[in-house]
Structure formats: structure tokens, C-alpha cells
């Protein structure tokens, strides 16, 4: 019964996120032309020494967008990362607690409230991370953001339960190392396969002087984003599995150094 309710919650969350993703893929030509005007604005103004009204004073347009025109985004991203790490540190302290004084329950770990919330959040975080990675070419996000989000899920389980629980759930040292390498291989495959058609490395769409026709950009009314979709997913695998690998490596280091482990 409880399992069924968790599954139901996961399905509802998945459906809602898919709805958001699908709605995000419908763009009108009107939006596209406005985006183009925005690009022109940035290119014209970023380092325009003759018209300094809107300039950023930096010859690097991408960094200027990052820290000047859209600086608020960057500040919020940094703040989110800061808060996330602060949360991780708190979780680390609380999981240190359970080593010192007596265990609260038979299985060890934190209280039943935290465990129940972790179960729900685990499913939601996994869905969200895949979602962020898979439509990262439409909305902000992408492989790196999705992978880092994915890594939070096992970290929560480590804090609420134990590292053994993560290993029992199927996050193995070897398999995460293999998945990480598989992600990098997929990345290389997507990047290099245009060469077979006498195209360029990292080629996405059809370009002049290239035999490669380009990765598919549309599927009916949906945008596919050419190679970006595959690159995002491959990077999601690499980054997510790398973080999991690092967490597990710390655990095994703990064991090798003679610590009792956090069982």
C-alpha cells in the first residue's frame, strides 16, 4: 500500500513534469524573432565603445550576458549552489550524530520523518534531474545541472539512512564507474560521428562545406535540438555518475582507513 502510494506520487510528478516539458516545446515564430532581436542587441552593445549607453565593457559577450545582462540568474545560481552545499554540510553533521550517540531505530539512520520525506524526495529528484537534462535545450538546465541534481538523491539517502543503504539500492562503485565512462563514450560518439560523412567535429546542423546532413531537429511539433539532446543526456550520465562515484569513494576510503563505517 505504501509502495503503491509512492509509485502513484512518482507517476503524478512525472506526468506533471512531462506536461511542462511539452508545453515548453511549443514556440511561436513571434518568440523566435524576438529572441533574434535580443541577440542583435547583445552583439551590438556588449563592447560598443562608441555607444556606451547599454554596453557591458567586456569584449566577451557570453560572460557579459552571464554577469551583466543576466547577472541576476548567475547570482541566484551561485546562491542556490551555496545553499545546497550548506544543506549537505548540515546533513553531514546530522549523520555524524548518529555514530556518536545511540541509534534511534533498528536500522540506524535518522528519524522516521526524515526517512519518509527522503523516500518521496528520492523519486521526485530522479524524475526532475532526468527532466532537466532531457529538455535542457529548450529551457534553462542541461546535462550538468541535471547530473548535479541527480547526485543529490543518493546523498540524501546517505544522510538519512547510511552508505550501505545506497549500495543496497544499486549504486555500485563499479557500475557507476562504467556508466560514467559510457557517458563519455556516448559524448565522443555524438561529437565524432559527423566525421564519417566528411563533416566537422561537434557538428550539429547542416553547415556549408560539410557532407553531414545534421542531427534531426524536429519530431512532429516537438523540437529535438539536434545533437544537443544527446550531448545533454551523455553529460547527465557523466556528471551524475561521477558524483555518485565520489560519494562511494569517500565511503570506501573511510573503510580502508579503519573507520567503523556509517552503518
Amino acid at each position: 500500500m505504501r509502495k503503491a502510494s509512492y509509485i502513484a506520487l512518482a507517476v503524478v510528478g512525472c506526468a506533471a513534469l512531462t506536461l511542462v516539458a511539452v508545453l515548453g516545446t511549443f514556440a511561436s515564430p513571434n518568440t523566435l524573432s524576438r529572441v533574434r532581436a535580443l541577440g542583435e542587441f547583445i552583439l551590438y552593445n556588449t563592447f560598443n565603445v562608441f555607444s556606451k549607453r547599454w554596453w557591458a565593457g567586456s569584449p566577451e559577450a557570453v560572460t557579459a550576458v552571464l554577469w551583466d545582462y543576466r547577472g541576476l540568474d548567475t547570482i541566484f545560481e551561485t546562491t542556490v549552489l551555496y545553499a545546497a552545499v550548506a544543506g549537505c554540510v548540515v546533513l553531514g553533521y546530522t549523520s555524524l550524530l548518529k555514530r556518536g550517540r545511540g541509534r534511534d531505530e533498528a536500522g540506524g539512520g535518522l528519524t522516521v520523518v526524515v526517512k519518509a520525506a527522503t523516500k518521496i524526495l528520492f523519486a521526485l529528484i530522479l524524475i526532475t534531474s532526468v527532466n532537466v537534462a532531457l529538455h535542457g535545450y529548450i529551457t534553462p538546465g542541461g546535462g550538468f545541472a541535471g547530473g548535479s541534481t541527480f547526485a543529490i538523491a543518493p546523498l540524501l539517502v546517505i544522510a538519512a539512512y547510511s552508505t550501505e543503504k545506497v549500495v543496497r539500492m544499486g549504486f555500485r562503485f563499479l557500475s557507476s564507474a562504467v556508466m560514467r565512462s559510457a557517458g563519455l563514450l556516448a559524448l565522443a560518439l555524438v561529437v565524432l560521428s559527423p566525421l564519417i560523412y566528411y563533416g566537422f567535429v561537434l557538428q550539429n546542423q547542416l553547415k556549408p562545406n560539410s557532407g553531414f546532413p545534421g542531427y534531426p531537429a524536429f519530431l512532429g511539433p516537438l523540437f529535438l535540438g539536434g545533437s544537443l539532446l544527446y550531448l545533454n543526456f551523455a553529460e547527465f550520465l557523466v556528471v551524475g555518475m561521477e558524483f555518485v562515484l565520489v560519494f562511494l569513494a569517500f565511503h570506501f576510503m573511510d573503510k580502508l582507513m579503519g573507520g567503523e563505517g556509517s552503518g
Binding site: 511542462v20 546530522t94 535518522l110
Partner: protein
């Protein structure tokens, strides 16, 4: 005609929820400043998170549903708001619970003034039996 009425109702209910959320935030702010110790301040902070963030998000979802100028995007905005509200409803109480638990167990915060301490009895029973 019916659509317009429904839109108006959604708009006003949503705006009312946002306003109530602002009041909750004010109460939470006063509580953070005036409450005597960590544990009751945590209570005030959670009021700010649940009443002052989750509730206005539900209001924003209703307002988005009533905003026809957003086109199909209004459903996306509504879904994101409701999901975020649900996530806050799950995480904020859990977070304050575990913060209070950690502060209690490490004696990181003075437990004065203390009117009722149910956790001590629970922990003593647990360790005794």
C-alpha cells in the same frame, strides 16, 4: 460569460492567497525577531516557508490559470507553481524537524525557557528499554 466569471473568481482567490501569504511572512518575521530561543524561532521560520511560500505559490498558480494572455503557457506556470508548493510542503517541515532534532541532541542551543520537553522523556525511555 461563464469563463470570464471563473477567471475573475480564480484571480481574486489567487490574489487573496498571495495576500494571506504576505501576512504569514510578516508574522514569521516578527516571530524570528521576538521569539526567545532556537526552537521556537524555527517554528516561526517554518511558518514563513509553509504559509509564506507554499500558500502564495498556490495563489500564483490560480492567478496564472486566470491569465488568458499567457496562452498555453499558463498551464505550465500553474503546474510548476503547484509542484514547487508540494516540494516545499514536503521539505520545509522535514528540514525544521531535523534541524531541531540535531540542535537538541548536540545541545547546540539553550533549551530555555522550556515549558514542555516531550523528546527528553521519549529518548530516556528509548535508551532505557
Amino acid at each position: 460569460m461563464v469563463n470570464a466569471v471563473v477567471d475573475q473568481v480564480l484571480l481574486y482567490v489567487g490574489m487573496a492567497l498571495v495576500t494571506v501569504g504576505a501576512v504569514y511572512d510578516l508574522i514569521a518575521g516578527i516571530g524570528m525577531a521576538r521569539f526567545p530561543n532556537f526552537f521556537v524561532r524555527l517554528h516561526a521560520a517554518t511558518i514563513g516557508a509553509v504559509g509564506g511560500a507554499a500558500l502564495p505559490l498556490v495563489g500564483v498558480a490560480l492567478i496564472a490559470l486566470a491569465s488568458d494572455q499567457l496562452g498555453p503557457y499558463r498551464f505550465g506556470v500553474c503546474a510548476v507553481c503547484l509542484l514547487t508548493a508540494a516540494a516545499i510542503l514536503i521539505t520545509a517541515p522535514t528540514g525544521s524537524h531535523i534541524l531541531a532534532y540535531a540542535a537538541y541532541k548536540t545541545h547546540a542551543s539553550p533549551r530555555k525557557p522550556c515549558i514542555h520537553d516531550a523528546l527528553r522523556k521519549f529518548l530516556e525511555e528509548g535508551e532505557g528499554g
